[in-house]
């Protein structure tokens, strides 16, 4: 589960969808109502957030410094300060929607059938993002490397990309997929859209994890096994992020779109015929 969560959290294929589908398809017995299940998920998320913090450690130091400098000065003077404010603006809508809607939405769509359906929808979304992007490329005659860096995105676009993260409360819709897609529509090049998506995800994943930390100290939690899961999730997330940043230098979202559609259809068939 640690490897699965860590890898699928950053790939645009929905970690939540896979976390619902794979145990069901492989007949793993998880009691999601068990009090120790939430701490387990919390640790997996902390592992992923830790991997992203390590990957972007120098950038996060610059972003945090830029945030305080710009906040006290009341003015943005460089790229790090602008990126810090963009991340704040992008995080707020996702945080509001997450706090007020996440539990309700997740409880509405927790079955493997719905996860498979949303996985297909996620695949169609990825293909649609790429279709719109290709149309924009043709219209403006811009090459991939001529599209913008994350720091150049507008504040309105950052808020919209941030709000898109709320779609990921539906199991099967990928947080990184919709934010990378949103970044592409806002005019970012693929690699920059992925970088903005990962930076945007870090405070949300870390914050949601840290808030739940006290639950780890409740009785009956096998801390050693859970910590091993966290480390595996972190390693998988780090490797995934490195791979994706390299992939998006020239790669596109289409293969993930096709994968999601195929995986969703295959899952529906397997679930339907109880294989």
């Amino acid at each position: 589960m640690g490897l699965l969560q860590g890898a699928t959290e950053l790939f645009p294929v929905s970690s939540l969808g896979h976390a619902v589908l794979i145990p069901s398809l492989l007949h793993w017995k998880f009691k999601q109502a068990d009090p120790s299940f939430v701490p387990f998920l919390v640790l997996l998320h902390l592992g992923t957030a830790g991997a992203l913090l390590i990957l972007y450690r120098a950038q996060w130091v610059a972003i945090i410094r830029g945030f305080f400098t710009a906040a006290f000065r009341g003015q943005i003077q460089n790229d790090n300060e602008r990126l810090a404010m963009l991340l704040l603006v992008g995080t707020i809508p996702a945080a509001i929607l997450g706090v007020f809607l996440e539990t309700r939405i997740k409880s509405l769509f927790a079955s493997p059938y719905e996860a498979a359906g949303f996985l297909i929808a996620n695949g169609i979304l990825m293909l649609a993002f790429e279709l719109l992007r290709r149309r924009a490329e043709r219209r403006s005659t811009l090459q991939e490397e001529e599209f913008a860096q994350a720091e150049r995105i507008s504040f309105r676009a950052a808020a919209l990309v941030g709000a898109c993260q709320a779609l990921a409360f539906l199991p099967g819709i990928s947080r990184s997929g919709v934010t990378i897609g949103g970044g592409l529509l806002a005019g970012l090049r693929h690699q920059e859209a992925a970088r903005f998506s990962f930076l945007l995800a870090t405070p949300i994943i870390l914050g949601a994890g840290l808030v739940e930390v006290p639950q780890l100290f409740s009785g009956g939690v096998p801390v050693g096994e859970y910590l091993a899961g966290m480390v595996l999730a972190g390693i998988a997330a780090y490797a995934s992020a490195r791979f994706l940043l390299r992939y998006f230098r020239s790669g596109r979202l289409d293969p993930y779109g096709y994968y999601c559609i195929a995986a969703g259809l295959a899952s529906l068939a397997l679930l339907r015929f109880n294989l």
């Binding site: 710009a70 906040a71 995080t91 707020i92 945080a95 509001i96 706090v99």
Partner: protein
């Protein structure tokens, strides 16, 4: 948009958010919470973040004298 009125408005909004955060953290406020008792730290942290964003916005909106 540089204006003293906007800056003061955002400052007041920030103070209101801080009060709401304190009420959630103390378990006084239960609005839109999943349970009807106890403190709601997630909500409290959200309102602290909103307060910080409001204060930052207020400082940005304040007309600067160079």
């Amino acid at each position: 948009m540089k204006s003293n009125t906007v800056a003061v408005g955002l400052g007041v909004l920030g103070i209101i958010f801080l009060i709401v955060a304190a009420l959630y953290a103390l378990g006084v406020l239960q609005l839109f919470a999943s349970t009807t008792s106890g403190p709601h730290y997630k909500h409290a942290i959200l309102f602290v973040v909103l307060a910080v964003a409001s204060f930052v916005g207020a400082n940005f909106a304040r007309p600067k004298t160079v």
